[in-house]
Amino acid sequence: MVKRSVGIGFATLLAASTLALAGCGTQSAAAPAKSNNSPKQLQIFSWWTGVASSKALAALDAQFNKEYPSIKVINEAVAGGAGSNAKAVLASRMEANNPPGTFQVHAGRGSLYSWVQASDMAPLNSLYKEEGWYKDYPQSLLNLLTFNGKIYAVPVDMQRGNVLWYNPTIFKKYNLTAPTTFSQFFSDAAVLKSHNITPLALANHGDWEATLLWSDVLLGTVGPQEYDALLTGKTSWSAPGVTQSTKTFVKMLAYTNSDYTALHWQQADQLVAQGSAAMNVMGDWAQGYFTTDLHLTPGTGFGWAPTPGSAGTFAVVSDVFGLPSHLKNQTATLDYLKVLGSKKGQDIFNPLKGTFSPRLDANPADYDAYSRSAMQSYKKDQLVLVIGQGAVNPAFTTAVNNAMDILISNHNVSQFVTAVASAAQSSPLS
């Protein structure tokens, strides 16, 4: 009797644990796969978890639901690390052949191109033709999404990576103008330093901010043609322009705050806003921080200019969405991309996010003073990409970030250039 009840007890236990195990299985693998199969649900994967960006995404999803009421959008945003956590989650989902409906990625030969090379993305040429998008977007932007004649993603917003932000009150007080050349930068910096103001605020807690500054210095030194040739592997990284711009960059470090390792980019811009520092180089996501978080007025609270030497060039940081090739059901994703690429969708999305629409028919009146001026440059300037913001393959980017961490402490230019050149060899850019 006793034996039997013990036996039954164990059997129950066994059954329960098997069930539990099976339960784990369904939760992690089967459930998302199921939702991919069903045309009723669509997972949108991004790192848009901030106040403005999540609000913008929700508004875009609402517009999509208005046009396609039968499909339920599931927001799969992953927070943290300026997208680095999301990229990690995405990589594991792609490896498991369990892609989201569509996902956020930067335009360029970075992650997007790597996914294309891994044949994880399907081309969208017919969608572009159908929607007439070849005329709606500038060809130079579409070129950044096209590999071997096939276009792989739809851009939803536009941000600029080569912006110098400055404090207009300080500049007026010392009769300075925003520097357009490096020699002007250094003469301005000398004046500011003599008045005990940090000329250039720098952050590098995230390990990519200094790379952005260096990328902009490189662009301003060698010009857009050679810069582009470097990024696409057509020119060797041992070229003298690389050394020269790295020297300029190191010289700039003498005019920065010393605690950049501890600062996030917002804190660097806060130094500028408060007036303890005069300038900062950051993408124009900083303008959302100035206006929304610090309640400053564009023009009087903060000023902007292209980074030294880069006037006439627009460094593109654009969020784009594509079509994963391993999806069971592509219709829902294609429908979503139609809304995301449309004038209506972008007019809803961009003003809320603090970015502007990359479409040629976007209405400047929808945007604030900064975005209007950025839009103007975008339409006439030459477009390039930014290292660390989707321009080059991830392995090269990580190698540059690592070399940068060493450069900013030991200021050894030749060591840095060697490291970058050898990274370009082990992770080819072309």
């Binding site: 164990f10 680095s84 490896e95 501890a262 393959n393 980017t397 961490d405």
Partner: protein, 331 residues
């Protein structure tokens, strides 16, 4: 021990009369109960360890899976980088600081609590509480407390006490004694001391709990006897009580070492890789290499090295525990 006691009697008869194997729930049930967890462990722990080791020997260094055999190429590539060499220095220094800090503070707290004070359980809880906080929260809080600015955080107190040049804490680029070896300077990076302070704050309560259990296990008769023999409090502690805490120390060291080698959230939130990688850890490097750089094979190589490091600490401990059990059985 108990296992053997049960088995011993029926082993002899089993040898004598050859198997008349009969199914019985009594014999089968332990096996059946173990099977699910063995399967889960086999797949999710040991399976993945081997998979990781296998990946580290392949050429899979982009989004395109490439399982061709690469030999030890990835290990060589990893060891050649400045960052990884700095990581090895940092993890050794950090582990040493962390364990010394936790053990000495933990022992001190345990001895204080063992004085039969009032509200003992209240104090015990207070000292253990930090363990319940996530390492990320600890990292953020301590990055504020140990703010490198001269006019913020703990530096305000130091300045009030007359220190005109308070430390820059985790931003300090100084390495003592800074001996060149390979690509890096070997020594104790001062920035790591700040990280160790935060980690010790969090985990010393754990060492205290272990030591407290050890102290409670020391029989009163022995202390009594030592006192009668004329031992003072100091002598009593170091010659009589402390030697009995050896197993507590070993346990604490093993568990804390494992925690130290795995440290990620604390450093990620508090300092990041730091200036010149003075606060970088192999775990951070692995995360960056694998998920930012998409170099899966090199990331797997770093993970494997970490695993071997961990094994180097825990296997001797497990062996000594097993040996101890055998000795007890034999006696």
């Amino acid at each position: 021990m108990i296992k053997n006691a049960v088995k011993e009697p029926d082993r002899a008869p089993l040898m004598a009369r050859r198997p008349k194997w009969r199914f019985s729930w009594d014999k089968a049930s332990p096996v059946l109960v173990l099977i699910p967890s063995l399967i889960a462990l086999g797949i999710f722990v040991y399976g993945f360890i081997f998979w990781n080791g296998y990946i580290s020997l392949t050429n899979w260094n982009s989004y395109i899976p490439n399982f061709s055999f690469a030999g030890l190429k990835n290990y060589a590539a990893v060891f050649e980088t400045f960052r990884f060499q700095a990581d090895i220095r940092n993890i050794i220094v950090f582990t040493a600081l962390f364990i010394l800090g936790c053990l000495s503070l933990g022992l001190f707290l345990a001895v204080l609590i063992d004085q039969k004070i009032r509200f003992e359980s209240f104090f015990r809880s207070i000292f253990i509480f930090p363990m319940a906080i996530s390492f990320v929260a600890t990292g953020v809080i301590w990055s504020w407390v140990l703010n490198p600015q001269p006019n913020a955080g703990i530096n305000l107190i130091l300045r009030a006490l007359g220190d005109s040049h308070p430390p820059t804490w985790f931003l300090s680029p100084i390495i003592i004694p800074s001996i060149g070896l390979g690509l890096i300077k070997v020594g104790i990076p001062l920035a790591l001391v700040a990280v160790a302070i935060a980690a010790v704050w969090q985990m010393s309560g754990f060492a205290m709990a272990i030591y407290l259990a050890g102290l409670r296990a020391v029989p009163d008769e022995i202390k009594e006897a030592a006192r009668i023999d004329g031992a003072g409090a100091w002598r009593l502690f170091w010659s009589v009580i402390y030697p009995q805490l050896k197993s507590s120390t070993v346990t604490a060291v093993i568990i804390l070492t494992a925690a130290s080698l795995k440290v990620f959230g604390l450093v990620y939130a508090m300092t990041g890789p730091g200036q010149d990688f003075t606060t970088d850890m192999p775990t951070l490097n692995m995360f960056d290499t694998t998920f930012q750089g998409s170099q899966f094979a090199e990331g797997a190589a770093i993970a494997t090295i970490l695993f071997l490091l961990m094994a180097a600490f825990s296997v001797p401990y497990l062996l000594s525990v097993l040996r101890g059990e055998n000795r007890e059985e034999n006696s």
